[in-house]
């Protein structure tokens, strides 16, 4: 396992997340995809710090985890709101505003 491998892995992870972000219609699926993308970044942090011989990366990753939790909490609340008004959680239902 080298830094390069880690970077490639995280890039792949990021791409997977991005793919999910663009293709999932289900709101929760999209939230998960975003989580995957964030975790790709986390992987980078850890890897860089590890191969750099420092520990700032791990700290950063922890902060990121905390923030994403908060973010997801709000996200799920919004999904609930969406469900309440549209009776479903497919994001393309919310398309009243356009053009």
């Amino acid at each position: 396992m080298t830094l390069t491998t880690c970077l490639i892995l995280s890039a792949a992870l990021f791409s997977v997340g991005l793919y999910g972000l663009l293709t999932r219609r289900h709101a929760v699926g999209i939230l998960l995809s975003i989580e995957v993308m964030a975790n790709a970044a986390n992987l980078n942090f850890v890897a860089f710090a590890h191969y750099g011989g420092a520990s700032w990366g791990q700290a950063f990753a922890l902060f990121v985890l905390g923030l994403t939790v908060a973010e997801v909490a709000i996200g799920l609340a919004l999904v609930m709101l969406l469900f309440r008004s549209h009776k479903d959680v497919l994001v393309d239902l919310a398309n009243a505003f356009k053009h």
């Binding site: 663009l22 393309d92 919310a94 505003f97």
Partner: protein, 605 residues
């Protein structure tokens, strides 16, 4: 008082009157008061002019000029205005003022049935006209001359259109302005060119031969317009729509003479351009003959006189073309008297009969003997009847042509002399003799003294002015224009022709009012309309068409293209807004694309 001061009075007194009448509406609205003011100031102008003549006789020419417009730098321009009094301008000032005074006096009677506000307007125009004419005459340089020249044209427009409610008068006024304005392009370009070549507007400038020819030819274009020479004469007959005193003043005695006066003034320039002079001689002679022919077939008394004016102006220009400035100038002054007289007398007739048509007149000699007498005096003078004023000046012209061996113009002018007598004879016979042709003619009567007095004064001058040719020569010789001594030769041929003209007229129209067959066919051929139609065609098919095209292009191409540019934005935006689908994943997609593009740029830049 110095001579220029008198001249200044002659020039600016009418301006004072014009301003007074323009600004002080209460005076203007009272027609009688306006007339009194105007005539008073015209008289002042006359007095000033007479003293200027006297001063010139005693002390020669003199100037009074002030800077009018100056411009510095590498192309210095310094235009002066003022008065230039010499043997040409001083007598001309007097003639103009005299005729104008007579005409204004006559007008008080002639226009007595107009409303007083309307008369006030008339006299304001008259004063303005007199001012502009005097400004022209007294000009110390060609620019001031042009200045007066143009205002004269504008005033003429106003005066012809005095009865603006008459569509024909309105049209005639505009037409006169158009035609003269067209011609004036020549003078304007000529002046610009003159300044370009010499840096000044002096008529004494020396030019290279080609430049001189070009400049003077441009001037001639203007002269053709103002002095109604063929083919720009078309406005003059129409201009008869104005009140008759206006015709007398503007279209006979003074304004139309401005063209001739310009050539007289600019003689030093014309002398440098032999080609122009020749052209002028032929042009003048041709117009003299042509217009005389047309005068012969008119049924409208004023139009007869109008064409006769064209014809006489042709005489003067022919003389100038022959290089005899004095002959032209002399005829200019005598013509001013007798043509003004003829018009005023005709006005008196028209005033009495209420129509311009000779077919409505006839037999007036019993009713209006004085009018008849002065009309005949004017006609004899015009036709060059020996002893009358026109006789002296016209013979001088014909002489000058033969002197310079311009035989074709010479012949044309001789024939013209015959025709002049013929058409004037016809006019006299149709107007004053024979039976009454209309109810009004039967009940016609002599006008009041305000109209009679000018007639008498002008008649005396028409008869006697010719004998003062020597004095005029003396005056003119104070300038550089004439040299030597005045000598008059009795022009036997011309006199005989003039006499025979009257005789033929008697034979043709003495007994009957029927037009002879020859005259009828002439009328059909030379109906003035064909030149007019040409212009109308040029205007409609040329100018108007081009303007329609220009306006169309402006609206539907140039302006539309501006809108097209606007429409690109509008339509483009309408199309582009569809990208905003409302679906959040599309937004995410766009965002990802953006991020990827940035990433790609950052790695492979």
């Amino acid at each position: 008082m110095t001579t220029p001061m008198w001249a200044l009075i002659a020039v600016f007194a009418p301006l004072a009157s014009a301003l007074l009448l323009a600004v002080l509406a209460p005076i203007r609205r009272r027609g009688g008061l306006a007339a009194a003011v105007s005539i008073t100031f015209a008289l002042a102008s006359l007095v000033g002019a007479i003293f200027a003549v006297i001063g010139t006789l005693h002390a020669g020419g003199s100037d009074w000029t002030r800077s009018w417009l100056a411009s510095g730098g590498a192309l210095p321009l310094s235009v002066t205005f003022g008065v230039h009094v010499d043997g040409v301008s001083a007598p001309m000032l007097a003639v103009v003022a005299l005729v104008a005074t007579c005409v204004q006096l006559f007008s008080t009677g002639y226009l007595d049935d107009e409303s007083s506000a309307s008369r006030g307007r008339y006299f304001a125009y008259q004063s303005l006209f007199l001012f502009s004419m005097q400004l022209l005459v007294a000009a110390p340089n060609l620019l001031q001359l042009f200045f007066g020249w143009e205002i004269v044209g504008a005033t003429s427009y106003l005066l012809i259109g005095y009865w603006y409610k008459k569509p024909s008068a309105a049209r005639a006024a505009v037409k006169a302005f158009w035609v003269t304005k067209f011609a004036d392009m020549g003078l304007l370009i000529g002046l610009v060119a003159l300044f370009g070549f010499t840096g000044s507007f002096e008529w004494t400038a020396q030019l290279a031969p080609a430049a001189a020819t070009a400049v003077t030819l441009l001037f001639v274009l203007a002269v053709m317009g103002k002095s109604a020479q063929f083919p720009l004469h078309v406005w003059l007959p129409d201009a008869m729509e104005g009140p008759t005193p206006v015709s007398a003043l503007l279209h006979a005695a003074t304004m139309v003479a401005a063209g001739v006066y310009l050539v007289v003034r600019a003689q030093p320039l014309f002398a440098q351009a032999p080609f122009t002079q020749h052209f002028l001689a032929y042009l003048g002679a041709g117009t003299a003959l042509f217009a005389a022919l047309l005068a012969l077939v008119q049924t409208d008394l004023k139009r007869v006189l109008a064409y006769s004016t064209c014809s006489q102006l042709g005489y003067m220009l022919a003389a100038l073309g022959a290089g005899s400035a004095f002959a032209g100038f002399f005829h200019l002054t005598t013509h001013a008297f007798f043509k003004a007289l003829l018009f005023l007398a005709a006005g008196s007739v028209i005033h009495a009969v209420g129509s311009n048509e000779m077919s409505k007149m006839g037999g007036l000699w019993k009713k209006m003997p004085l009018t008849m007498l002065v009309f005949i005096a004017g006609a004899f003078s015009l036709a060059g009847f020996p002893g009358f004023a026109g006789f002296f000046s016209k013979d001088l012209i014909i002489d000058s042509l033969s002197e310079h061996h311009l035989w074709a113009p010479y012949a044309a002018l001789l024939l013209g002399a015959f025709l002049t007598a013929l058409y004037m004879g016809r006019a006299i016979l149709l107007t004053f003799f024979g039976p009454h042709e209309s109810h009004e003619a039967e009940h016609a009567h002599e006008p009041g003294w305000s109209m009679k007095l000018p007639l008498i004064v002008l008649a005396l001058l028409s008869v006697g002015a010719g004998f003062f040719g020597g004095d005029l020569w003396h005056l003119a010789s104070l300038t550089d224009y004439v040299h030597g001594v005045y000598h008059f030769r009795f022009g036997a041929v011309a006199s005989v022709l003039a006499l025979s003209g009257f005789v033929v007229a008697w034979v043709a129209w003495g007994k009957t009012r029927e037009e002879p067959a020859l005259a009828r066919s002439l009328a059909a051929f030379a109906n003035r309309a064909w030149v007019d139609r040409l212009y109308v065609f040029g205007y409609r098919a040329g100018l108007l068409l081009v303007s329609d095209v220009a306006a169309w292009i402006d609206r539907y191409i140039v302006d539309a293209l501006v809108n097209v540019v606007g429409s690109f934005f509008l339509l483009g935006a309408r199309r582009a807004r569809r990208l905003q689908t409302g679906n959040v994943q599309d937004y995410l997609f766009a965002m990802s694309l953006g991020a990827i593009a940035l990433a790609v740029w950052s790695i492979w830049r």
